[in-house]
Symmetry: C2
Subunit: 253 residues, 2 copies
DNA sequence: CGAGCAATTGAAATGGGTCAAGACGTGTGG
DNA sequence: CCACACGTCTTGACCCATTTCAATTGCTCG
């Protein structure tokens, strides 16, 4: 659980100009000189082992994180132990920023795989934004984007059947994974247990199992071990209620 | 209200320095000179009758809105007509800003009561943000806040029973309403049908009716007509799973 | 006074939850 | 190399919260 003991704070880090996720995060809009300024501000890169928490809800935290690689989940714990997973974050995600910059965290974050994050200090971030307005604008866009994602999940969980919810999640994960993969075909890693999926969708792991079985029997996906293979992208996105991104033309209405 | 404001170049609109919701919205961080700049940028105040849409999802929209008074709901329509209400917005809310500033809207917005909004043009908002980074930062905080709200709703909808969900919504509305009301006691206006409540919580209006009946019979709330009276705030927040101040110790199984 | 929408109530159907038992890995230690 | 332990997945049987369908009662407003 405790990760701070395990990680050595060292300044040796990848250089920002070579950052693999630069285009997707707050630094996207910055030129090289500005990037150097951010680099000076940056604390370190940090490796997080799978299963450990970046931060816990209701606790204080002084950092902001950009995911370099690996998966992180944001989740909320209820008093009686029930868990709601709010979001699965992949490379490029900017994590830890909330409305009350100085208050305790509103939710928890846990690594699903081994993860590398770029760490910024939270203190002074608004001064940095003030000096680099492009960064602030970019940050605002990211915040808006993540609000839209939350709305989409809410619609799926609030209004969808189990089958629709699972399809929506898989479709979402698949299309987001594509952004980070070179080849479009082939199975993609899915570091989630069925309990994770259930906790993200408001379902029981038992029922997730049954639902996946149904999708498997309809030859829509093939989930084995920790990998997901989408067999019928069209059908999957259809069920999910999402418009397939690059779908072959077909009269849908 | 006393009007000791100095004379400023006026359009046909309320003056920004006197804005009633200034402290809660994107302008909060701005000084008077910057506020004048925003005022020059501002298009107009606009009255929206109850029931009409500010904008529709998938359609283009050139404006951004700050709610001056009244209630607005943000909602998502699914292909088959099911509706998910994402958020109820009250005075001070900043609406219409999304990650893709030039693209079609990701969700719809409809007035639940007669509403007055302050209208900004969408084009050039990023330039404005760039000139006033405080405003961008403020916006990001607001967006983050709304994401946190969405997460809280998601946890409620994904993991709560009908009773818990309804209690959570009522508790949330009640505490937010308090911010805009002088006297703490007494019934507060609730411009929602039970169908609205159901669509916000992933429930049927029929079941909302039954659930409210249960809360009424337990003397926790009294909902009559379009107004809500919280009778037992402690119990309501207890059921909602929100901490009102400090829950009395009680062995919850 | 009647039209129309919102709320209530009852009865029946069902999607998903719960409980419980097994199967299937996969990594560990002997 | 085996055995065993632990976590995950699967499957069956039953249960129940919520939905669905349907009828009735208000309430508001023209």
């Amino acid at each position: 659980m405790d990760l701070t003991a395990r990680t050595l704070p060292r300044k040796s880090q990848a250089q920002c100009v070579n950052c693999g996720v630069r285009a997707q995060t707050v630094c996207a809009a910055l030129g090289d000189p500005q990037l150097e300024e951010v680099e000076a501000y940056k604390l370190r890169d940090q490796s997080i082992p799978a299963g450990s928490d970046l931060f816990l809800q209701d606790e204080q935290n002084d950092h902001l994180y950009t995911v370099q690689n690996g998966w992180i989940m944001l989740y909320t714990l209820l008093k009686d132990g029930r868990r709601q997973i709010n979001e699965f974050c992949m490379a490029g995600a900017f994590i830890g920023c909330q409305s009350d910059l100085t208050g305790p965290m509103a939710y928890s974050a846990q690594a699903l795989t081994d993860v590398t994050v770029c760490v910024l200090p939270r203190a002074g971030i608004d001064a940095l934004f003030r000096r680099m307005p492009e960064m602030a604008v970019r940050f605002a866009c990211i915040a808006a984007k993540s609000q839209e994602n939350a709305f989409a999940t809410l619609a799926s969980v609030g209004r969808g059947s189990a089958r629709e919810r699972v399809a929506h999640l898989l479709a979402d994960l698949e299309s987001r994974s594509q952004e980070h993969r070179s080849n479009a075909q082939g199975p993609l890693p899915l570091p989630l247990t069925q309990e994770h999926i259930g906790d993200a969708l408001g379902l029981t792991s038992v029922h997730v199992s049954r639902t996946l079985k149904g999708l498997r029997e309809d030859n829509i996906v093939s989930v084995q071990g920790r990998s997901l293979q989408v067999l019928d992208r069209q059908a999957l996105f259809e069920i999910a209620g999402m418009a397939p991104v690059a779908a072959p033309s077909r009269p849908t209405e």
